[in-house]
Symmetry: C2
Subunit: 600 residues, 2 copies
Amino acid sequence: MHYDTGGPRRSNSTSQGIGVQSTPYRTAVWEHTARDIMARVKAYVLGLDFGTNSARALIVDPVNGKEIATAVANYPSGQAGIILDRRDPSVARQHPDDWLSSMVKCTKDALKKAKAVKGFKPEGIVGIGVDATASTPLPVDEQGAPLVRQKKFAKNTNALAWLWKDHTSFAEAGEITAAAAREHPEYLAKCGGTYSSEWFWSKALHCIRVAPEVMKAAAAWVEQSDFIPAVITGNKNPAQWKHNVCAAGHKGMYHASWGLPAADFLDRIDPALGDLRRRGTYERAYPSNERAGVLCPEWAAKMGLPAGIPVAVGAIDAHLGAVGAGVKPGSLAKILGTSSCDMMIHPNTSPLPDIPGLCGIVDGSIVPGYFGLEAGQSAVGDIFNWFVNYFDAGEKAHVKLAQEASKLKPGESGLLALDWNNGNRTILVDPRLTGLLVGQTLHTTRAEVYRALIEGSAMGARVIMERLEEYGVKVEEVINCGGIAEKSPLVMQIYADVTGRPMKISRSAQTCALGAAIFGAVVAGSAAGGYDSVEAAQTRMCGLKPKVYNPDAKRHEVHNELFRLYRQLHDAFGTTTYKDSLHNVMKDLLAIREEARGIA
Amino acid sequence: MHYDTGGPRRSNSTSQGIGVQSTPYRTAVWEHTARDIMARVKAYVLGLDFGTNSARALIVDPVNGKEIATAVANYPSGQAGIILDRRDPSVARQHPDDWLSSMVKCTKDALKKAKAVKGFKPEGIVGIGVDATASTPLPVDEQGAPLVRQKKFAKNTNALAWLWKDHTSFAEAGEITAAAAREHPEYLAKCGGTYSSEWFWSKALHCIRVAPEVMKAAAAWVEQSDFIPAVITGNKNPAQWKHNVCAAGHKGMYHASWGLPAADFLDRIDPALGDLRRRGTYERAYPSNERAGVLCPEWAAKMGLPAGIPVAVGAIDAHLGAVGAGVKPGSLAKILGTSSCDMMIHPNTSPLPDIPGLCGIVDGSIVPGYFGLEAGQSAVGDIFNWFVNYFDAGEKAHVKLAQEASKLKPGESGLLALDWNNGNRTILVDPRLTGLLVGQTLHTTRAEVYRALIEGSAMGARVIMERLEEYGVKVEEVINCGGIAEKSPLVMQIYADVTGRPMKISRSAQTCALGAAIFGAVVAGSAAGGYDSVEAAQTRMCGLKPKVYNPDAKRHEVHNELFRLYRQLHDAFGTTTYKDSLHNVMKDLLAIREEARGIA
């Protein structure tokens, strides 16, 4: 046996199963069977990562973090798994059954690959962790089944899951922000001062407004990151689910001291919202070192695993990405994908001010015992992909454009871009902002625009770092992970040059899934071949690549000049700081657009 | 004989030849020969139009304006006839011999085609008019030959012609503006309050600064529109050329009351500039109803024409375009090509205030007896072409994009563009402005951007109209001409919808060449089958197409909202009107760019 059994035995590792009171599968039989098997086979952990377009399964050796097998399955519906509305680009929905079918597929594929590894057996999986996007809520019935499965809601896009990037509820976000500012400023203080249209209550309220029949029929309005663990642990009573503190705290205005927002406060926004709070939500949320339950026979069979494996409480993908990247105090973990999530942790014993514009400071949302700090950019890879898909017909366009763009010097194009094609998450928390490109001449090339979009993205990243440091959270290292960090030396070098900081890359190419696997190891506990703390697991399972992108002093200097202009545009279009600000421009354009499209 | 011999005989029609004192070809022999022939063959007139990328010859029946033959020849050098500098996109030069070889080619081609028309004979050409771009100056030697023909200047791009769209001299333009504002505000008052880098003295000063050896070797620094008539009339003494008031007045700060700017004023800017004024310029300029001379045997032979045909004093292409469009008081003639020129005339007997931002108000520059008003946009077709060439690889991209864009409703894209990719000519007179696009989402399409660029262009056009009317010049009709007016119903409809005015289209597809032909008819005079006034010629030779693009009230209303935002961005980036203006942004980006490219 090679796996680590060291460290104190975690006394509550079995009692955690008891949290799942309602499941009919919580019998000792499987657990005993599982333990029995574990004694005979090498322990592994499984991370299940639900991204924006696909699900991923990752099987990891907890001893050294070695990723022995991984598989991805794309969500089958809509455009890359997203159900759009041609009339309204703010709409982004998802079918919950896509998650489940993709999960089954990628888990089986990963198991198949893992079986080629000597000593691996599915019975060796000692723990499962789950991460998902957020806030991606969906309406479910009394059994926790998606409402959209019912015949009468099958064609109703409002009964689907509302993907995080759905921005239809911007008006409701404004309403909730205003109400909270009046009555409960403490709710806002913990989530950056502005409640976002990407979040739980805005979406619920918009659903109440546009599809009251959906919300009326819903027994609960639940996060994807609670839904998945509940499904696979066979927990068919949403009132008994172990809801995760990560989504609750960052997206739902949950705080340990007050729970979710008060029902009477929500009543005054809309009685239906107060009603939802009373009958379709919960009182307490949990970190991911707690078990949601154990894998139930039904899903164990579907996935090709033994029943009874402990399943961790879910969390948001990016937060577990930070865990997988090896985040520790002083590290900024940047998860660079379609959007970016910029995560830090700060000891919960040390004082921390509220930081305007952050998407939340939540105790235990990343690593138990630490405040989890979330910031991010609403679109990163999405912007580069948009440009390539809409403005370049050629094959291998990213490669070709990156080659040309890498030959350009900073400032050489005369271009400057605001990276707001999908709004601005941090520090402006404003989905009603749009992209901007300035400096075009008659000679401006595609590659120049491509580079300007990357530079704009890097400047957006720099704004976030500066905001964190302004409030006393020192950024001592930056660890990048996600597809872009892996695949684009150009982007990484520009990030280094723009921010003036070395860019490190996480060793794992799938840190979110690795983070989930780490929590799989933690809910397994050291006795079963896992760990008793996240830190212990990270020490063994995380690492960095040898390649570090260091900033070039001369290029950084030019970028400082460009950044001054970026900041000027940022403040002119994004704030009301300036006199005669242009704060209205993008918003008015969107209002005119909606009028033109008949969706005002 | 079908041609009109009516109207009073013009008493000075022959005496005008005397203006060309120096030409050895001004003998009565050819004129008599020519008249003799004219008595026997049907009269036609020839317009020679020198555009940015090509020369065009147009043979017209003066009786009814029927264009019996036309031919175009592209300038052979550089990129579409423009010699660029890869390091510095501000550079745009041209080889003067390209003009001449293309002129010979297209004239011969047109004559060949005309010969298919019954009754046409080259001997029937009774007058030639010439238009060219401006300010497109070039250094010439004592014989008026381009300096670049000399071996030692053959590789020196500063010895080429400096095309109007060369913006390298923006710093010198600022210097001249500042000096004139201090010492001679009257110089500026007639050219919009700001002296442009597109103009004669800025370019001369920049040439003095970057290539003093060129200016030292130059006997004169002459406009293309003076050079061509001088060449074809065989006038080999630049000091004796009949310089045109159109380029002089609009681009050279010439005014009948003071001539060109005073040498001592230029001395204080740079002694070499004062020196140039003294030895390489002229005292008096003439309108195009005057003869520059008559076609000399050398060029007559090359072009396939009889010698002795009267040649009108040159003029700027757009100004003659307005003549060919049938401009009269109250008409705005828009010449829509790579850039736009927006021309009006106003009786010189009626008072007219100075209008800030206009490229000049010059007595006789368009039609003798009227002030010629010039405004314009530095890039129109150039922007659409830039987008198609750099961002769309497909064939027939304009057609495809226009089809898609025409399906979009105003405001539907949420996009707004500033049409400044080549700077702003009117009303900001600022080459150091650049393009801007705002409102991009992750769903923004190519066609949406294409339409936004057209809308931005239309809004730029509207700013000009509003400025003219603000100063009492009522725009009663808009006549469009040029390639875009001919070819793009989408652009014309958007112009109508944005401005709220009907867009009429000139009957002629080549109004600049037609305007030149009209002056050919005027210098021929009625006795020779031409006319004795521009108005008389226009009445017979100009017309409109039946199709008028009328504004749609609903679309206009949406465009009014968008225009309010356009104006807000226009003023924020283009002026210092606003507090906390963004006036620095585009300029700083250009400065950083030049620093990066090592051309600061």
